[in-house]
Symmetry: C3
Subunit: 344 residues, 3 copies
């Protein structure tokens, strides 16, 4: 029998106000459109209030202003999405990850593993590394030398911490992520590339999340740093010596070049590229596919993504854009009172 | 001794028309330029017909219209590229993947593995997962809880299916791909990010192919879906709740944000970015590096990629583009019969 | 006790000129700003010469022209960055990687492993593959069939060589990289995709470096080739049959489509996209996020990346850009002596 809970219990546990029969039983969550008997859904945006009419959800989490339209019982929340997130966590299947070390794991004699940690199949832990209380190191993960995994961290599976990586508490890292690889440190000498040793590490604050196949290089001389509660999606690239402020978030395929410093509460859309050695202040939002080529010192929203149009029109636009400088000169000449004064 | 076959046998096996000595032996395939004695090549585009003159290929697969120019024997095909693909498969080395479970694999007691499946070294299969007949699970792959791998699937090596991933038949997945990770589901509460549990799964249709290091997140409440015969190249990102229609293909480094629905027979060039919550109809082609920022409801070709030019010219273009609004106003003022009527 | 060396020994070992007390001991390296007693720093750019005043570095590597400003001892170098790279390598911790095969590794009976190679935990080596002298194959790496790993190569950890991959000497590959996967070779037949077998391999020259989670597909009929000393950063995609000339470098998230040939000493910024079947000559620099859509036959710097601006201004620019063709026509009509002659 799966988990179930009553409306009254939900209201009490999450400090919400219940409307309707407190004995109603909830045994799952779903979208408004798909929720059926015994299922709880949510309405975050009053714009979609019309969906309440046709929903069969047993309980809907919503704002007070929308509560009269709930089809059955309701839970009133100031932030229905956040309340729903917390309620739906009750229904998340939790895979069994017992404390202890799988017999196929290879643990260096100098590593320290908390007895309450779970070490999965084929995990490798190198010299002088530490795994904290309640940490879950999923199958196939590799932890190199001199790493520290804080209490309650979850390396879902097949995560690599190369060397000198320190994770705070409750950090979650998805499969394929690589932290602490030697970044792109090159010097050209006599026509050949010379590697610049990367002697720093990676420092990740508490409550960070790092997406699948994301890469975070270790610092050259100092550390690459993610402050607390930074959230990176999949396939993100963070180069050496970057610093990302607390609570900032980056969508998939964002790339940040070396030594750039990013403020707190920033948000970056998918495929944004950020040049190296920049400073970006707090509360900056950059929309998807934009290129950040200079410092940003004012909070606000920035962009340079060009929306696609039919290729025939686009080709014409590109051709004209190549002429924009001569267009501008022609226009200035035509609109100046005396073109002989145009001295550009 | 490697595989060999005669011209007559090839013609019969693939339903093609042979020209020349049916007893000619083919023991390999190559490009027109490099093919030597005993090798078969193809000509798909009559534009390159001139290459036939200098080719030493023993057999060329080509269209009827080009057959007279074949240097030696020929096989006539309506679609020479497709015919060549099928013929060359005869010469592909097939690594030995015997049925059975490698002794280093870790299989949960509740998992069901077909006796005809191959389970490679260090593979991990979690609770309640199923591997179908003839499936090949390459070394280092990790299959989490509640996954189903259909008959004839091939996980080349080091593939991760996190949880609730269902693969149809004959799905091929390349190394490093991660399916079913928890996507980027976040709500901000009291200045901190809150994870929104990702309770859905990933559903992949028959005959799909998924490239190396590509990531496909599981759905939040419902499933992320790839219909039959979808082809994804390397380093592609598919966010939660995306649906991709049958026979659509995406080149490398494409990113699709959450909940977008893509039609059938669509094609996306490399590095295309597609925003979230969009609907894209069937038979849409988007050229490389474009950004799709809105719904597309007409089949056809779309683009917004800007071709590189010398940096000096490009800097001038960018500077002028920043002035385009004032250019436009100036132009309108100058060309209106009575500029006092310009009320913008 | 960690490694230490005197100023005089450094000068002799690296052929540099010392200024100051030759008996000064150096036991580590740091940035100018952070270096303390016993630490060596460098100044590559005279622009930052002011930092010398406040630096506590025991030794600074710098140009002759800046030597008078060194706070303590100095080492004079023509190229301080390169000299520093070589000196700092002395202080890089070297993890223990003893020769021999870890008991958890799975080595095919037909593979040949040099007795001086290190084979880490859970490594898999397939049929007919060869690992050269002094090579280090890190934990979790998978080497498929018919691969050759040259002398002195380092596969840091969890690297996959799928099949027919040949590495020269001293190649370093970072975790998660996948070489030799079947590229995106597709033909459409009767409304379904058909795989074109990928029969070639990957050939990597001496001294190449390949970043974390980078993917290099094997060739279709011939090989995908990296010449000597090519440097690829993380999350780069190299499609089948691409050829990259010696000493060229690509920053993170660059993508190169199939069959493109790139010259020697080229450099590509992050997120650059390069279309297929192109030829790019030697000594081409392409700045970050640009799209290369055609051949380049002149050395020099190219770009098409658009720097982000505030979203309100950007939306206006995009709207006006859509009108650029009519702007151009209007301008030409207004500035032509006789507009009736405008025949476009």
């Amino acid at each position: 029998m799966s988990f179930q809970i009553t409306l009254a219990e939900l209201a009490e546990r999450f400090g919400l106000q219940a409307r309707g029969d407190g004995a109603s039983v909830v045994h799952g969550v779903a979208t408004l459109a798909n929720a059926g008997a015994g299922q709880l859904a949510f309405l975050a945006n009053s714009k979609y209030r019309g969906q309440l009419e046709t929903s069969a959800a047993a309980v809907v989490v919503l704002r007070d202003a929308d509560a009269d339209a709930a089809p059955n019982a309701a839970l009133i929340a100031k932030d229905p999405h956040a309340a729903f997130a917390k309620i739906s966590a009750l229904f998340e299947p939790v895979p069994s990850r017992p404390a202890g070390i799988h017999p196929s794991a290879s643990i260096d004699a100098t590593a320290k593993i908390s007895p309450s940690a779970h070490i999965g199949a084929n995990v490798v832990v190198g010299a002088n590394s530490v795994v904290g209380d309640g940490a879950m190191i999923g199958a196939g993960s590799i932890i190199g030398e001199d790493c520290r995994v804080g209490d309650g961290c979850e390396l879902v599976a097949r995560v690599t911490l190369v060397t000198r990586v320190t994770l705070g508490k409750r950090v979650r890292i998805h499969p394929g992520a690589v932290l602490g690889a030697a970044g792109f440190g090159l010097a050209m000498e006599a026509g050949k590339w010379l590697n610049v040793p990367q002697l720093g590490g990676v420092k990740v604050g508490d409550d960070c999340e790092i997406g699948a196949n994301t890469t975070i290089d270790r610092g050259a001389l100092e550390d690459t740093v993610l402050e607390d509660d930074v959230r990176l999606d999949n396939l993100v690239q963070i180069a050496h010596n970057v610093r990302i402020g607390a609570h900032s978030a980056m969508a998939a395929q964002v790339g940040v070049a070396g030594s750039t410093r990013i403020g707190r509460y920033c948000m970056f859309g998918g495929q944004v590229g950020i040049a190296g050695h920049l400073t970006i202040c707090d509360q900056v939002i950059v929309l998807g596919k934009s290129m950040v080529g200079g410092d940003i010192d004012q909070p606000g929203e920035y962009s340079s993504g060009m929306p696609a149009t039919d290729s025939r029109s686009w080709r014409k636009i590109v051709a004209r854009l190549r002429q924009i400088d001569s267009m501008s000169r022609l226009l200035r000449a035509a609109t100046k009172p005396d073109p002989t004064k145009d001295s550009e």
